[in-house]
């Protein structure tokens, strides 16, 4: 009886601790960042090294970098996931080699990705410090998690669908397109969201690839400063930049939250519509 109660208390305590960490973090950010947040903060360019002004060009740069990352990583990861789940057996040599490489890739520190991106995209491919280089580097980073979630999602689609579709003389491609991908859609979208979150929150890899420039970017070949880089710069290199750093962090978190909930509600809506309409 006592043991049970003790265990219950411990479990509740650990859960409460987790919540407390989150609440503290959020409260800290809100307390320090909210007073600075205003429409002009969101719509103006930074001035005085970021101590004053807003973060408009930085939001745009961040958006562009994430967009480049997702549009490069999503098709690649989807294709790989389809290959892994539908066209090769999980025990095959080939599959194991790919999955092991993905595990290693997932564990590589982001600073290493930054160095690789700098050497490969900026210098070797001649893209320079640009939003394109940054986005492509982030795509490499987001690949493992996106491939893994999509593969797991596809593998957990009911085998009955595959069998039944085959018994109706449907091709594997048709079964994939009409039955398996929709069944795996929530997992694929979740992977996409994790990828975006990872890309949006990345700092180290971007310092070396998309650079520091806080002007409004004209093209993808311009250097652009991401929100996380901006926060890092304000907090570490600019005396008196703390308040704006907090405000920027709040914007970043809110943006990620919005993208996340938008994507999951869109998926739900789309799946429901698919069933309703012929």
């Amino acid at each position: 009886m006592l043991k049970n109660r003790l265990a219950t208390v411990l479990i509740w305590l650990s859960a409460a601790l987790i919540c407390a960490v989150f609440v503290c973090l959020l409260a800290d950010m809100l307390r320090n960042g909210l007073p600075r947040l205003s429409w002009s903060f969101l719509s103006q360019a930074p001035s005085d090294a970021g101590r004053a002004g807003g973060i408009a060009p930085i939001i745009v740069s961040t958006g562009l970098i994430v967009l480049v990352a997702v549009s490069a990583a999503a098709p690649l990861s989807l294709a790989t996931a389809i290959l892994l789940s539908e066209f090769s057996s999980p025990n095959s040599r080939f599959c194991q080699v790919i999955e092991r490489s993905l595990e290693v890739l997932a564990g590589v520190p982001s600073i290493v990705f930054g160095l690789f991106g700098n050497a490969f995209f900026c210098i070797y491919l001649g893209l320079g410090f640009s939003i394109l280089s940054g986005g492509l580097t982030l795509a490499c980073m987001a690949l493992p998690i996106m491939i893994n979630t999509a593969t797991v999602g596809l593998r957990s689609a009911p085998d009955d669908y595959r069998l039944c579709a085959a018994a109706l003389g449907m091709s594997r491609g048709a079964a994939l397109l009409h039955l398996l991908l929709p069944a795996a859609a929530p997992a694929i979208i979740a992977g996409l969201m994790l990828g975006i979150a990872r890309a949006g929150a990345e700092t180290a890899a971007l310092i070396f690839t998309s650079g520091y420039v806080d002007r409004m970017p004209d093209t993808l070949m311009d250097s652009g400063r991401a929100l996380s880089v901006h926060i890092y710069d304000l907090a570490m290199n600019v005396a008196g930049g703390d308040a704006n750093a907090y405000a920027s962090a709040l914007v970043l978190v809110v943006l990620l939250l919005i993208i996340n909930s938008l994507a999951s509600s869109l998926t739900q809506h789309w799946l429901r519509n698919r069933i309703m309409t012929s």
Binding site: D160, R162, C164, A166, A167, L168, G169, H178, I275
Partner: protein, 290 residues
């Protein structure tokens, strides 16, 4: 449906039923089905999963327009036999098939065969109904479109025809656009049968189509199957001996021997149930074994 067996004058087991004590109630067979003309001919079929033998040296003929029931205890390879007929065994890693299967003069095992076309001709119904997570209409429309039917009017006609065939039309005509997975189990199974019928197959393979259903739904599906007799060639796996007796024209008993599943006895349903040639059959149909 309840035609007396004495009408089956051209069938092999004509004559007075032998005076066997049977436990399953009076015998009923379907209407006299057929000139026993084989549509599917299986010779020396063996089937291995990795290093395990599932079936060994099965030879039998499936007759056009008849219902053939495969009976026998679980794990004796009935389902494996069924899925080798439409090459669904291709989907199972490590599964090897040997022997010959001829369908309407076609070599089913030929590597050059168009498997998708074969599976269109030989439809399959599974134990658990598997409606796709789409609307009722889309469930039937999807395979039709995959097989190249483009005209919406033609699709609608076919949809209505098969839903009427399975007795589902009046139940679902108002809600064709609603999710198929919201139907009851029995309705789902009938939808699956309609979906298979929509492709106008010659043969229907049914793997225990009633065993996941409640008795009433099961009776409806069984009734449907016996109505399909004559229009389609049906091979049905069933553990329900009374059902096999009621609907089948031919019956085959499979049994697990030490070297894998074997065909013990094959013949007219009445003969298998009333005058079994093999002692295992006699024991099984009288409920003493299995």
């Amino acid at each position: 449906m309840t035609t007396n067996t004495s009408n089956t004058s051209h069938c092999a087991d004509n004559g007075n039923p032998p005076e066997h004590a049977y436990t399953l109630g009076p015998l009923q067979v379907g209407p006299p089905c057929c000139d026993p003309e084989p549509l599917l001919r299986v010779d020396n079929l063996s089937l291995h999963y990795a290093d395990k033998i599932a079936l060994e040296n099965i030879s039998l003929a499936i007759y056009r327009g008849c219902i053939t029931a495969l009976i026998g205890p679980s794990g004796c390879g009935k389902t494996s036999f069924l899925s080798s007929l439409n090459r669904l065994t291709d989907m199972i890693p490590g599964c090897r098939v040997s022997g010959s299967i001829r369908f309407d003069g076609l070599d089913v095992r030929s590597p050059n065969l168009d498997v998708q076309h074969l599976r269109r001709d030989i439809g399959m119904i599974f134990q658990k109904p598997v409606p796709f997570p789409l609307s009722i209409r889309r469930n039937i429309e999807l395979p039709l479109r995959e097989h190249g039917m483009r005209s919406q009017a033609e699709i609608n006609d076919r949809l209505q025809e098969v839903l009427r065939d399975v007795g589902l039309w009046d139940e679902v005509r108002e809600r064709l656009e609603t999710p198929a997975q919201a139907l009851s189990g029995g309705q789902q199974q009938r939808l699956c049968i309609a979906r298979a019928l929509a492709l106008q197959p010659k043969v229907l393979l049914m793997d225990e189509p009633c065993s996941a259903l409640d008795p009433i739904a099961s009776a409806v599906v069984e009734d449907l199957i016996s109505r399909l007799q004559g229009r389609y060639t049906i091979v049905i796996v069933t553990h329900n001996l009374a059902q096999a007796r009621r609907i089948a024209n031919y019956a085959a008993l499979f049994w697990m021997q030490e070297r894998g599943g074997r065909l013990i006895e094959f013949g007219r349903c009445q003969q298998v149930f009333e005058a079994p040639a093999h002692r295992l059959t006699a024991a099984y149909v009288n409920g003493q074994r299995g």
